[in-house]
Structure formats: structure tokens, C-alpha cells
């Protein structure tokens, strides 16, 4: 029930640190937006500006088309989960949850109903009469999340709300949050470091770096078409391999070349990249685009690449192989292959690279070269 719009929003702390720079971003009514970025890139600051807890140095913040820069936080009807929880230390869990509702003069029965619902969902029912100091970190985080959720406001601002939970609980909460979002239809901004959360929860993700928005888009679009080497190197684990190389024109075809790797580009790409023919570029190879058999490496059958295995990380459903191109001395890359085959460190393997998936970036700007859109499935 709230569209949030940031127009050239900038935050400068104490006239020195520029925490957020010139952010233009529109979050649609009822949209689930994920903020993703390395530590210190300004995610919390952006969220706090939207909540009204930090002054906006310059630029405009609009909620439902109304300029909100100078509106008191108490009048914005937003709820926030703070990165540090910020629970009321002198109140029990139940009182923490009820506080915002009491201030809004909700009926006692309605308050009790909502608290029951949320505490069951978050598994904090047995702790309702305890003080925050008597809870573990993960329990406190769930209370913080609960305090925001019971409010059912126009928009939720969630600053890493699941960071302190164990893997299983985190997965449950992820689905619960998605369900809740669907049920309430409220706008949600979710800050996270977690790749899985970013990919699975967001309708769109917004990737930030050094206070600036680098790329905004649907998760799979961002994954398939990262705007620059930063996004490519940040999204997914292990991230894309980025290798310095060249584009060489030869026999009417364009080749991406780096030490121990020479790949003829599909025709459509050759045309798109013609401007960079003969120049230095950065070549991006996703670990998951290497396959054990040629038939799985796309329509073109893939490019055989011979690698020397340096590390094997068996994760269970898949295996991450660190391997060097061109013998031991060559550049090391990560590849992701199916579980089921044993690999030995030092052995040589041949994997098949799906050449249609190659990414090429400009050396100077680090921006991706515009390429024919790889169909989004």
C-alpha cells in the first residue's frame, strides 16, 4: 500500500563520510525489494532515511507520491527491523510486540490475536513473558521481526532480519516472510548478505556499492546480465570467474582469449562485440557453466577445457572444483560440477564450457559489453 520513491537521495555524515550518493530508486506498491551489497555500502543508511531516522542531506523521498523528507517517523506508518534489534529492554516480549499496537489504540482482543499469530509463526510463543536480556541472539532477532510484522504497516523495512538464525530456521522464516508478503500485500524492503535470500525472496534486487546503486532488476536478470564486474563478482557463490584477456578477430570469427582458454564466440556475440575486437577485455566465466559432458553444455556442444584440479570442495549436491587453466601455473578458476564423481587434487580433467554463456567486460569501465539478451528462460 505504499510506493516508495527516492530521487537523487544523498546522505553525508558529519560533512565527511558520504554514505549514500545520488540514489534514484522506485519501489512499487506491494513490491518485495531486496538490497544487496557489501558491508558499509549504505544499505542501512538508505533504510533509515526511508524510515525517517536519518536526515536526508539532499534529494527527495516520496511515499505514495508525497514528499516525506520532513515528516516525523511516527507519522510514516512504516515498520523497521533494526540490524541491532533495538528492542525495548524494560518490556517483556509481549509488551515489545504490543507497544506499537497500543499506541494505535487497537482493541485488546485484536492485539492478542495478532501477537498469538505472529509468535506462533516465529516460534517465540514460549518466551512472551521474558525480557529481551533473557533471550538468545536469534530469539531477539525473531522478536524484532515480530514487532515489525504485528504492526501490519504500509511498508516493512527489514535490515538483515534473518542474519542471526540457524540455517533451518532461516529457510522457514524465508518462506513465512514470502507468504506474509503475499497475504498482506505490503511493500517490503529486505536488506541481506545472503545470496539465497536475495535470489529467492526479491521480486527485484538492488545491488549497492560505496553508497551508489549499481544495478536494479529481477534476480535472474541480474544474475544473467550483470551490469559490471562488481555485480558479476558479488552475486552467487562461488562468483563468476573474471580473467583478463583479449578479443581476437580471426577467420571472420571473434575469439575470447586468455591464458589457457580460447573460445570462439557465437555469431550473435561476435557482432555485438565487434567494437572491442583486438582489445583487452575482462572475460567472465560462471562456475556453473562448466559441465562434465558435452551434451549438457548447450546447443553448441560446448568448448572442451582442460584443467588441473587444485582444490575439491564437496558440498553435497554439488562439487566446487578449484582448477587452473594451462597446467599448474595458469590462472585458477572455480567450477561447479555435479556430485557423484570423485576428483583428485593434481589430476587433469576436461570440462565442457557452454560458450553461449560467456560474459565480456570493458577493462576501463568494468561495465559489461552490451550483448544480445540471453533469453531469461
Amino acid at each position: 500500500m505504499a510506493a516508495i520513491e527516492l530521487r537523487a537521495v544523498t546522505k553525508t555524515y558529519a560533512n565527511v563520510v558520504s554514505a549514500v550518493r545520488n540514489v534514484d530508486l522506485t519501489i512499487g506498491d506491494g513490491e518485495f525489494m531486496v538490497f544487496l551489497g557489501p558491508s558499509g555500502c549504505g544499505k542501512s543508511t538508505t533504510l533509515r532515511m526511508i524510515a525517517g531516522l536519518e536526515d536526508i542531506t539532499s534529494g527527495d523521498l516520496l511515499i505514495d507520491g508525497v514528499r516525506m523528507n520532513d515528516v516525523d517517523p511516527s507519522k510514516r506508518d512504516l515498520a523497521i527491523v533494526f540490524q541491532n534489534y533495538a528492542l525495548y529492554p524494560h518490556m517483556s516480549v509481549r509488551e515489545n510486540l504490543a507497544f506499537g499496537l497500543k499506541l494505535r489504540h487497537l482493541e485488546r482482543a485484536e492485539i492478542a490475536r495478532r501477537i498469538d499469530g505472529i509468535s506462533a509463526m516465529l516460534g517465540i510463543g514460549p518466551m512472551l513473558d521474558r525480557r529481551p536480556a533473557q533471550l538468545s541472539g536469534g530469539q531477539r532477532q525473531r522478536v524484532a521481526l515480530g514487532r515489525a510484522l504485528v504492526r501490519e504497516p504500509k511498508a516493512f523495512l527489514l535490515d538483515e532480519p534473518l542474519s542471526n538464525l540457524d540455517a533451518k530456521l532461516r529457510a522457514t522464516m524465508r518462506t513465512e516472510l514470502i507468504k506474509l508478503h503475499r497475504r498482506l500485500g505490503a511493500t517490503m524492503i529486505h536488506v541481506t548478505h545472503d545470496q539465497v535470500e536475495a535470489m529467492t525472496m526479491g521480486e527485484r534486487i538492488c545491488i549497492m556499492r560505496d553508497g551508489e546503486v549499481v544495478q536494479v532488476g529481477r534476480p535472474l536478470d541480474v544474475y544473467r546480465n550483470p551490469a559490471d564486474t562488481f555485480v558479476a563478482g558479488f552475486l552467487a557463490t562461488p562468483p563468476m570467474n573474471l580473467l583478463p584477456g583479449r578479443l581476437e578477430a580471426e577467420g571472420g570469427q571473434l575469439h575470447a582469449v586468455t591464458d589457457g582458454f580460447r573460445c570462439a564466440l557465437p555469431r550473435a556475440y561476435a557482432e555485438a562485440y565487434a567494437s572491442h575486437a583486438g582489445r583487452e577485455v575482462i572475460i567472465g566465466l560462471r562456475p556453473e557453466d562448466f559441465h562434465e559432458t558435452p551434451d549438457r553444455a548447450g546447443a553448441l556442444g560446448g568448448l572442451p577445457v582442460t584443467l588441473t584440479v587444485t582444490t575439491v570442495e564437496a558440498l553435497g549436491p554439488e562439487t566446487v572444483l578449484m582448477a587452473s587453466l594451462m597446467g599448474e601455473a595458469g590462472p585458477e578458476i572455480a567450477t561447479r560440477v555435479d556430485f557423484g564423481r570423485e576428483y583428485e587434487v593434481g589430476s587433469r580433467v576436461t570440462l565442457h564450457y557452454d560458450t553461449a554463456q560467456i560474459h565480456v567486460f570493458d577493462v576501463e569501465t568494468t561495465k559489461a559489453l552490451a550483448r544480445p539478451l540471453v533469453s531469461a528462460g
Binding site: 516525523d72 517517523p73 511516527s74 510514516r76 523497521i80 541491532n84 525495548y88 524494560h90 499506541l103
Partner: protein
Amino acid sequence: MTTSVVNNAPNRIHVHDRRFGWLLTMPGLALLLLVIAFPVLWALFTSLFEYTLINPGFHTYVGAGNYAKALGDPEFLHSIRVTAMFVVAVVVLEFALGFLIALMLNDTERGKDLYYAILLCPLLMNPVVVGLIWRMFLHPSLGIVNYLLGRIGIPPVNWLGDVDVAFWTIVMVDIWHQVSFMIVLLLAGLAALPREPYEAARVDGASSLQCFWHITLPLMRPVIVVTLLIRMIFAVKTYDLVYIMTRGGPGVATDFISYFIYRSAFVGLDLGEASAMSGILLVIVLAMTAYLHRSMRAIS
């Protein structure tokens, strides 16, 4: 083997430390006993005898007689009532004013240290000096207060000589002198409050008044209790101000316990009864201190 030796060493030093610590505090403790415990014990002992300055000496043992006499003395009971009223008045008014100023200072960004320094000035002054200064200021015909009031057309007030006014004059001067004490303690408490709950409350929809009521007050509770208790204990013992400004008068309007005890001993010359009254005052203050002690332990 080596490890066990290393492990034992700290224990031995620990025992030594404790004994050595006692040894070091001995001279101080002895001095304290001499200057504090001895007079107290002497007074308590005296309170059991009929001991007057005309006929000094422990000749006639009267047991609880002096205590019974004191508690049956309407003047003493009056002084207890006046003191109680004074304590309630100054503590309530100083707390209200002090808390208000502390809250404002806590929100002040610029010039905080300057305000703080100015506010501390009265606190650094000796009560006798405070009494003398205000006695001059409040002089019915020569004082600056009545002069200034006259300039705006208010007739002169007999600040210290009017039965209905003198009590409140003492209250006023005490506030001037002691309110900074409240401010300092409460400000320290406010500065130590966590910032996060306020942010959460504002997003939850609380106004500043609601923040004060639901966050500041409950979180400040321990500090408030301790501040009030300390201030009360000191207010019960107020002596210097009345001695300098009113001598308990006019009549017995400002006849606080401490001053009344002094009068009984050195004007009435009945040291036995005065000692008994001191004993009663001691019990009151000790009870309050014990409560204070418990409250402070509850904080930590």
C-alpha cells in the same frame, strides 16, 4: 609438575593480598573509628543518662527515659513535622525542576558544557556562604530582591521574618543551592540511556511525550530512585541554612530537627535528651540509607 606450581602461585598471592589489603586499610579504619564511631557511641551512651551541661556526668541512669521524653515533647514532634514537610517540598520541587533542566540539557547540542559549568556553581558553594548571600539578598529593606520587586510595583516581602513566608524562603534557597545536584545525577543517567529504543518507538508511532513516558521514565527508574533517596537523606539533615538565615524562626516556623537538637543541647543544655533525639534522627537516616543501599544493589 611445572604447571601445578604455576597454578598454585596466584592462589597464594591472593591470600596474601587480602591480608595485606586489611593491613593497608587499618590506619584509615582506625582513624574512621576514632572520629566517627566514637562520637556516635558516646552520644548513644549519653542518651541513657540524665546529663545536662549544668550538671555533667553519668550519675543518673534513666534508660529509655530521654527517648520517651523526646517523643512526648511537642516541640520535637513539631520539628519532625516541619522537617518532613521541608524534605518533601525540596525533593519534589528539585526533582521536577532538575529533571526538566536535565532533559533540556540532554537535548542541547551547543553550549552544553557552558550551561553545565554555570549550573554547577551553586553546588560548589558552602551552605553557610549560600545562607549569608541570600540573607543579604533577601533583607527586607536593604536586599536586592525587594528592591527589584519594588521596581515592578510589588510591595516588599519580609522573606525571613514572616511566619507564613520563611519556610518557603528556605525551600527556595535550598532549591537554588541543590537543584544542580539533581541535574548532574539525572543528566548522567539520561546520557547513559541507549539510543536504539527511542528510534524503535518513534517508528512504532510514539510521540516525544509518549517516548518520555514509556521509555525514558521506566529506563531511568533506578537512577531516579537513587537520586531521590540521596537528596532526601541530605535534606533531612539540613542545618546550616536555618542556622544562618532564620535560627529556626520566626517562632518555630523553620525549626528543623538538626537545629532543634542543637538548641536542646546548647541552649536548653539538656545533653541527654539531645543525644536521644540524635539517636532517633540517626535511626531515620540509617533506615533511609539501608533502603538506598538496597535500591543501588538492585540496579547492578
